[in-house]
Symmetry: C3
Subunit: 669 residues, 3 copies
C-alpha cells in the first residue's frame, strides 16, 4: 500500500446520488483511504438487532472502484436513541447526581453492563460483515475517548472492587491513603464512595485512585471491543484517535493493545496555540508506542469555535508535512465535505457546504502529488531523538489536584507548565524529543532526560533514574520531583527524597510566590559557560548544597544569595536540580551547554517560527524544514549539503523558505 492519504467521509450525510462525484473528486485529489461509519450506529442498527449494512457496502464498493480503501470506525461513541430510551441508565451520572443528556455523543457510562453488551454486539456484527472485505484495512475503536467519570451505582460497585483488588485489606487502604485524616477510616468496603466535588475537600490519595479507576474503566471498555475484533480478524489493524495533550486518560495504557496510535490534529482549535505545544502533541503521540502513528483527523477548514479563522493558503500543506516530519505514516483529513446539519455544522472540511472544490481542495491535491515523490525516501524511516522528557499520567493527575484554583495548582502551575518550559527550549533549538514513561521504559539510550516536576516517585522510577545517571546520563529535574509516593502521599524524608544523593542537595525550605511575584536567578558561568539572569515564577526552594555545585543563585526575594539550582556529578553522569519554575530561556542555556559539550546535536540552526526535524533511515535521513510564519525564512546550512527532494537540486549555502514554506531535504550520513 502506498502512503495512506485520505479523508474522513460520512456518505450517510449525503444523498446517494452524490457519492460517485465525491469518489471521483477524492480520486483526483490523490486520496487512497477514507474513514467511514464512525457515528452511524442508528443507521446500522435502527432498532435492536436489526442490522442495515447495504448502504455501507455500497459506499465501500463505490470508493474502492476509485482506488480508495477504508478504515471503519466502531460507532459506539454515540448511542442510538432506542438504547437510551429503553435503558436510560446507560447515561453517565455526574458528581452532583445529574444524568448526562440524551441525544448526543459521549454520554454513556463505560461500566454499564447493558451498554457494554450492546457495544460488543454492534462491533461483532460489523466485523463479521467486513472482516473479509479486502477494502477494509483497519478499525478505529469508538472516537476520541475522554476520561469523564461516572458516579452511577455500577461505577461505585466497580470502584470498590477495583480498590479491593489493589489493596487487599481495608487496613492497608486506610493506612496507605492516610484516611485517618479528618477521621475517614473505613470499616467496610461498602462505606466507600467516589470523591465528589469539591475535590479539595476530599482525600488526595483517593482522588488519585478515582482518576486511575476512571481511566482504567475507559481502557477496559476499549479492550472489550479490541477483543471482539481480534477474535475474528488479525489482518485488519486496530487503532483509536487520540488527542495530543489531552490528559484525563492514561494514554500509554490506552495505546498498549492497539496496532498504532492515531492523532486528531487541529492546530487552530481553541485559543491560538504556540508552536511548541503543537509539535509536542505529535511527539507525545509518537512516543506512546515509540512507533509511527497516523493522523486520523487533520484540520482542513475552519473549526467550530467562535470566530474561527480559516487555514491560510499553505497551512494545510504545512501541517501535513509537519505531521510526517514528526513521525506520522498516514494522513487523513477531517472531513471531506462540511456537514449541513448537526452539532458540527461549522466544523469545516476540505469542501464547503455546497460541495464545490476550491482553494483547500487544490492544496491537498497538490500536496498529494508532491508526497508521491518523497514517499520512497520515507519508507522505514523513523524519528530517533537523543533527548527524552518523562511523561507519567498518574503524575499529571496528582499534579492537577494539588489544591487547584482555576487551571493552576498549589504551585501556581498548570498540567504542562514545567514540561513546556523544558520542551519549549528544546523545540526552539531544533532538538527532537521523545516522551518516556519511566515506570516501564528504560531511558539509558538517551543523552539527556528531563524530569519536569515528577512529583510521584516509586522504587521503579528511582531505580531507573539513579541507574541512568550512574551510567553516564544527564538528568534535569524541576521542583517537587520526588516529593510524593505513588499513593500521592508526601514522603517522610527530607526533600528531594530518595534521589537526594543523586542530586547532591537537600531542600531546606520552600515558599510560594503569589500572583505575579518573580525571583531572579543568576546562572553560574563556570558551570554553564554563560552567566545569565532568568526569572523564576510561582515557587522557590532554598537548596542546601551537599555534594553538588551551584548552577544558579537567587538574586532577589527572601532566599537572596541562596542556591536555586544545582549540578552534581554522580557516577558517570550529571544530575541537575532546579528549585524554581524557571522560564524557558534558562533551559535554553542548559540545552546550549549540552550542544556545546557535544552531548546532543540540533537538526538545523534555529530561527523564530522555523521548525526542523529529521526522519532517519539506515544510510540517510530526511530533513524537514518548515516555516510557520507568513514571512520568508532563511537559515544557514552550516557547511552541510542537502538534496532538495522536490526539485532534486543541491542545497548547500542556505535553506530558503517562503511564507508557510516547506523543504524536504536528503541528508547523507
Amino acid at each position: 500500500m502506498s502512503f495512506p492519504y485520505g479523508v474522513d467521509y460520512y456518505p450517510e450525510h449525503w444523498p446517494e446520488k452524490r457519492w460517485l462525484k465525491d469518489a471521483e473528486l477524492m480520486n483526483k485529489a490523490g486520496f487512497n483511504i477514507v474513514r467511514l461509519a464512525e457515528f452511524a450506529w442508528s443507521k446500522l442498527e435502527p432498532r435492536r438487532g436489526e442490522y442495515h449494512f447495504d448502504w455501507l457496502d455500497k459506499a465501500i464498493e463505490m470508493l474502492s472502484a476509485k482506488g480508495i480503501k477504508a478504515v471503519l470506525g466502531t460507532p459506539t461513541a454515540a448511542p442510538p436513541p432506542w438504547i437510551v430510551k429503553s435503558h436510560p441508565d446507560v447515561l453517565r451520572i455526574d458528581g452532583y447526581g445529574r444524568r448526562a443528556a440524551e441525544a448526543t455523543r459521549k454520554n454513556y457510562c463505560p461500566n454499564n453492563p447493558v451498554y457494554i453488551e450492546f457495544s460488543k454486539r454492534i462491533v461483532e456484527a460489523m466485523v463479521l460483515q467486513y472482516k473479509s472485505n479486502p477494502n477494509i484495512v483497519g478499525w478505529q475503536i469508538d472516537n476520541e475517548f475522554m476520561g469523564d467519570p461516572c458516579y452511577c451505582n455500577n461505577c461505585i460497585e466497580a470502584y470498590r472492587k477495583w480498590l479491593k483488588a489493589k489493596y487487599g485489606s481495608l487496613e492497608r487502604l486506610n493506612e496507605e491513603c492516610g484516611l485517618i485524616f479528618w477521621g475517614q477510616q473505613y470499616s467496610d468496603w461498602d462505606e466507600i464512595f467516589p470523591p465528589r466535588p469539591p475535590l479539595t475537600m476530599q482525600n488526595p490519595s483517593l482522588n488519585l485512585e478515582w482518576r486511575r479507576f476512571t481511566s482504567d474503566s475507559w481502557v477496559k471498555y476499549q479492550q472489550e471491543q479490541v477483543d471482539v475484533i481480534r477474535k475474528h480478524t488479525s489482518r485488519q489493524f486496530i487503532t483509536h484517535n487520540f488527542m495530543g495533550m489531552y490528559k484525563e486518560l492514561d494514554y500509554f495504557k490506552l495505546a498498549e493493545n492497539l496496532d498504532h496510535v492515531s492523532f486528531d490534529y487541529y492546530p487552530k482549535w481553541g485559543a491560538q496555540m504556540d508552536l511548541a505545544p503543537l509539535a509536542m502533541c505529535h511527539d507525545i503521540m509518537r512516543s506512546l508506542k515509540k512507533r509511527p502513528y497516523w493522523i486520523m483527523e487533520l484540520q482542513s477548514g475552519a473549526v467550530v469555535t467562535s470566530q474561527a479563522p480559516i487555514p491560510l493558503p499553505g497551512q494545510i500543506r504545512l501541517w501535513t508535512y509537519q505531521s510526517i516530519a514528526r513521525g506520522a505514516d498516514g494522513i487523513v483529513y477531517f472531513r471531506w465535505r462540511t456537514c449541513r446539519f448537526g452539532a458540527e455544522e461549522y466544523w469545516h472540511g476540505i469542501l464547503d457546504h455546497d460541495g464545490v472544490p476550491r482553494r483547500r481542495y487544490a492544496e491537498v491535491k497538490k500536496t498529494s502529488e508532491e508526497l508521491r515523490r518523497i514517499t520512497p525516501y520515507l519508507e522505514r524511516s523513523i524519528v530517533k531523538p537523543q533527548v527524552a522528557i518523562t511523561l507519567v499520567y498518574d503524575n499529571i493527575w496528582a499534579w492537577d489536584m494539588e489544591v487547584p484554583r482555576g487551571d493552576k495548582n498549589y504551585y501556581g502551575e498548570s498540567s504542562w507548565g514545567p514540561t513546556l518550559d523544558c520542551y519549549g527550549a528544546l523545540y526552539s533549538r531544533n532538538v527532537m524529543v521523545d516522551f518516556v514513561e519511566p515506570t516501564f521504559e528504560n531511558v539509558e539510550h538517551y543523552k539527556a532526560v528531563f524530569v519536569p516536576s515528577l512529583m510521584l516517585m516509586d522504587k521503579r522510577v528511582e531505580k531507573n533514574l539513579r541507574s541512568y545517571v550512574e551510567k553516564g546520563g544527564i538528568l534535569i529535574a524541576t521542583p517537587r520531583t520526588g516529593a510524593k509516593n505513588w499513593n500521592n502521599v508526601i514522603i517522610e524524608d527530607t526533600l528531594p527524597g530518595c534521589l537526594s544523593d543523586v542530586f547532591g542537595i537537600e531542600i531546606e525550605e520552600y515558599t510560594g510566590l503569589p500572583g505575579s511575584e518573580r525571583v531572579n536567578l543568576e546562572t553560574v558561568g563556570t558551570e554553564l559557560t554563560v552567566q545569565n539572569v532568568h526569572a523564576g515564577r510561582n515557587w522557590a526552594e532554598h537548596l542546601v548544597l551537599k555534594d553538588a555545585n551551584a548552577l544558579a543563585y537567587y538574586q532577589t526575594g527572601s532566599y537572596k544569595s541562596k542556591a536555586c539550582a544545582s549540578m552534581n556529578k554522580f557516577g558517570k553522569g550529571v544530575a541537575v536540580y532546579v528549585g524554581t519554575f524557571a522560564e524557558k530561556s534558562f533551559y535554553e542555556d542548559l540545552v546550549d551547554w549540552l550542544t556545546k559539550k557535544g552531548s546532543i546535536k540540533p537538526v538545523l540552526p534555529c530561527a523564530e517560527g522555523f521548525e526542523a526535524t529529521e526522519r532517519i533511515n539506515s544510510d540517510s535521513s530526511v530533513v524537514f524544514a518548515l516555516n510557520h510564519t507568513q514571512n520568508s525564512i532563511s537559515v544557514k546550512c552550516s557547511g552541510e549539503k542537502f538534496k532538495d527532494l522536490s526539485t532534486g537540486k543541491e542545497v548547500n549555502e542556505r535553506i530558503n523558505l517562503a511564507s508557510f514554506g516547506v523543504k524536504v531535504l536528503l541528508r547523507q550520513k
Copy 2:
C-alpha cells in the same frame, strides 16, 4: 376617554386608611388610570375556591370617585402557596432536572394542566366580578411572560406531540433535521427528549424546534386566559406587558390576539444603555401590531440594581414624551409608592417608602398638565416610517445558538448586533423605522428595507424580498443572510443562496476574525458619493461579483483588495450585500446616500444625544424634539416653520432645548 395617564398601584400593600390619600394625590397629579391586582392571587383566593373581592371592589370604588379607572392584571404570574404545596408539579423543571423555587413568581410550567385549570378559574372569577364594572377598562394577562423552558413530563409529552403534528412522520423529522449526524435517528416518537444543556452538543435543528415549542407553549398559555375573558366581555381591552428587546418569545405571536401591546420601559435598568437601543425597544413594541401601544410600566425612580442611580430632574418627563413620540397612546408609571417589603423593595416608584410627594411627584404632575394641551393634536396621529428592518424571532433563536460562547455566537455577534449597526445609523440620522416580519408582512410600501443577518430563509421570505426589489425597493443585507433553511440546516447551494441573483454575487470563501481583529473596508465613491474607510469586525466574506458592482473593498486582512460589499441593480430596485459586520458609520454613509437620492427624509437634522420623531395626522404632524443630554442642544430648522405646542409660539430659526428638554412642534403639511 382622555389620554390614559396613570400609575401601577398595589392597594393591598398598604393599610386601607391610606387609600384615600393616595387617590387624592393621584387625582392631583392628573392621573386617570391605574393598573391593579397583578400579583394578588393569594389575597383574591387565599384558599382553593374561596374568593375575596371585597377589598378590590373597595379600592376600585375609592379610585373611581377621584376619576381614576383601572386595568386589572390577571394574577397568574405568581402562584399562591396553597397551589404549590398541594401540586408541587406546577413548578418548572430545568434542563438539569431541578425544580423551580417555591414562594416566588414566574416559577410555573405553562403546560401543566393543573396550573392551567387553576389559572382559568381565577381569571373567570375575576371577569365575572368585573366585566360589567364601568371603571374597569381592560385586562393585562399575567406579567412579563418569559420564555423559560420546562423539562417536566407534561412538557416532554407535549413536545413530542408538537413535533408529530408538525412533521407527520419520523422519516421526515430524521431527514429534515439531519438526525443522522452522530447517529440520532429516531425509530419511535417516545425516543425523543428535549435538548438538555450544553446545547452545543445537541442537534441545532431540534434546538430551534425546542425554542419554538417553548415560545408556543407560553403563547398558548396566554391564549387560555384571553379566551376566558373574551367569552364574557368584549368591552374591555386585553393586553400584556412586553419587554422591548426581550427575545426569548415570539413577540409577534404573543401580540397577535391582544388588542394592543403594552411596554414596560425602564431606561436606567441594568447597565447604562445607549440611546439607540432604548428607542429601538419602542419601535419594536409599536411594530408588533403596527398600532399604538401603551407604556404599562414607566420608570419613575431608581430600580432594583446594585448602586442604582435615581432619574435626574427632567428625565421622567423626557421618557414620557419619548414614549408618546414613538407611538405610545397611554402612559402608566411604575409604581405609585415604593414597596416597603418583598423582593422589589428597592424598585422605587413616584413616592418613596414614606409616601411623601417630592420632586418626582411634582415632575409627573407638571407633565400631566402639559400633556393636556397637546393631547388634541395627537388624536389619531400615528408613526409612519419609510424604512423597515426585518425582525424574525426564529432567526434570533437560531442566531444565538450558532456555537455560542458567552453572549456571542459563531460569528462573534450577539443577538441584536447586526440589527443595531443598521438601526443605530438610522437613529443617529433621525430616520424612523418599522420592524417587519417578512414571513407574513408585505414590505412593498417601504422605501428601504434592511435585512440584518436574516440567516433563516424560506420560500415566503425569498418571494417577499425578491418581489420587493423587482418592484423598485432598496434592500440591504448583512452576513449570513440566506445561509440556512427554516429547519436551521445550512443550504446546499453556494452562498448567499436563493437571493444570489438578486444580489448579483457569490461568496467564494469566508473566515472568522478572532478576538479584536478588524478589517478595513473602503467604500467606492462612485456608488456612495463618498469614499470612506470603515472597520469590519468578527467575520469576513470574499465576494465574487457576478452582476453587482463593488460597494466596498477590503483594504486589509487576508482578503485584501477583494470585494467586501456589493450593490446590484435588480428589476426596478437595488440590492446591497455587506460581507462583514461593518460598524455603524458604514451604514450612516448608506443612509446619507438614501437621503441624498431622495428616497428617505429625516425628521430633523441630527445632533449628538438629540432625538426627533414625528406622529402624522391627516393634515399635519406633530414633531417631537428630545434632548437626552445634560447640556443644551440647538438644531437648525432648515427653512421650516413650526408651532411650539406648549407656548403657541412660532419656531423658525433654531430649535433650542435645555438639559433633558423637550419641544413638541406642529408641522403643517
Copy 3:
C-alpha cells in the same frame, strides 16, 4: 498554670514510635498545652458503639510526662464513614436539592436527629473517659462551625416550627414579613418552604429569618454537646474555635454559653489581608464575651492556598505578640508537624513533613523564652477600649442580602465595608476598639460609638443609642442606619427614621453612584478644626438639616452643595450622620477631632505599618509596639518613659523597632 503556650497535635497521624520525640521537642520549645483528637472519631469509634481510647490515653500520658496538658476536641466535625453509609440522610441538602459529599468534614445537617444522637454519644463517651484526667484542662466543641443551611425535611419541619414559635399566627407572619408581595400569603404552616436560590427572587424578611434559623440551628447543635459535657464536669473549660470576621453565624450567641472564645488566626490565609482587618478579627473575638480569649490555631507555616507564601523570619513571633497584645491569654500554634496526607497536606505546621526542627521551630522556642519574662506583667491585665463599634449579625445578613451582585450589595458595599472605614481610621491612629451588640449591651461607658450602617433598628437599639447621646456620648452613624425594622422591612417614616431627632436631620433623597463614580465631600472646618476634601463612593444621600450643623457638603455630583454629613448636639452628647460611604481619611479627621478635644487617647503615636496596643492592670499597663513591615520603624515617646520588659532598660526618647520587631513596654500609671 503558666501562660498556655502550645500546639495542635494529631498523634494519630504518626507512628507511635515518633510520639516520644515529638513530646521532647515540644517540651524543649517551651510548650505546655496541646489540642488533641479533634478529627479522630473514626479512630475513637471505628464501628458503632465500639470505643478505642487506648491510643489517646497513651498520647496524653506521654505528653503529660513532658509537662504538656491537653484540650480535647469533640470529633463531630467529621462524621465517620459508617454513619454516612448507614444514615445517608445525615448529609446536608443544598438549595438545589443536592446532597453534601461523603468522605469529608462539615457535611452533616445540624438538625438531623440521628446525627445529634450519635454526636452526644461520642461526646459523652469521651467525657466519661477524661473528666477526671488532670491532664485534660478543657474541651473544644466540634471545629470552626459554619452557617451552611440545609434543606432536608428535618430542617424544613424545624424551620416551620421555629417560625410558628416566633410569630404565633400566620396572620402576623403574613403581615410583618409583607408576604402579600407577589401574593405569597400563607394559609397553612405546611405551605412554608425555605427560600431557595436565587434569593433575590425571594422575600427579604423570610430570607433573613432563614439565616437566623440556620444560625440558631448550629448554636443549638453546639449546645447539645455543651450540655453533655457540663452534665459530667465543671472543672474543664469549654470553648470553640471561631474564625474572626466569619459572619454566617451569630457569634455572640455561639459564644454565650462557652467559657471563653478561641480564635483560629491565619494572617496569610487567602488574598493578602490589610493590617486593619487582621487586628479587627482579634477585637471581634475579644468582644464576643468582653473577656480574654485563646488563639487555638495560629499560623506557623504556609497555608493551603495556591502559591502560599511561608511566614517570613520574625512573623510568627510578631503574630504571637499581636494576639496577646489584643487580649489573647493562650497561644496554640497550628499545627505541630505538617501532615503527609489528606486534604490539608499543604497546611504547614511548625515542622515540615520530614519532622525536622528548623527556623520556625527555633522562632517559637525563642518566643516562649521571652514570654516567660513578661507573663507576670500580663496577669489579670485586660484590654479596655474607649471607643466602640456596633456589631449585629442580623444586620450583616440583611445587609449582604440587599440585592446582592457578587460580594457587593444594593449600596455597592460588602459586609464589612462601612465598618472597616471606621475601624481603619481608629486602627491607623492606634485607638483601641470594642465591638458591641446594642440589642443587649449598654454602651454608656464608651467615649464614642460608631454605628456603621446599622440598617436594622428596633426599640431596644433605639433606646440604647438615644440614651447614650442624651447622657453625653458621641455617636457616629453611616448610610442606611435605621432604614429597616427588625423584620428587614423598610420603615414607614422619613429617613433616618426613629433617630431623626437625635441626628437633627431628614433625608430628602438618595441615589446610587454606579461603578467607579465618586462624590467629593468637603468637611466644614469650624466643626472638625480642619477643612479637607474626601471621596464618597457608591451612595449619596441629600441631607436636610433640621437642628444639625453641616459637617460636610457635596462638592460634586447631582447633590452638589447639599449637606452630606451632619453634626448635632443632642442632650449632653453629639450625634454625627454621614450620608455617603466616605473613605477612611474622613474618619481619620473625625478621630483626630476626638483626640484633640480630649475624648480619646491613642496608645502611641502612629506610623505606617506600626501597631500599638495596651493591656491595663490595676496600677500599670503593658504597651505592645509592633512593626508589621520589613523596614525599621521609630516612633517618638512624646515625653513618656517606658520600661522595656525584655531588657529591663528604660525607653524614653524613641521606640525603635527592627523589621517585624516587637517591644513590650511597661507604662506606669
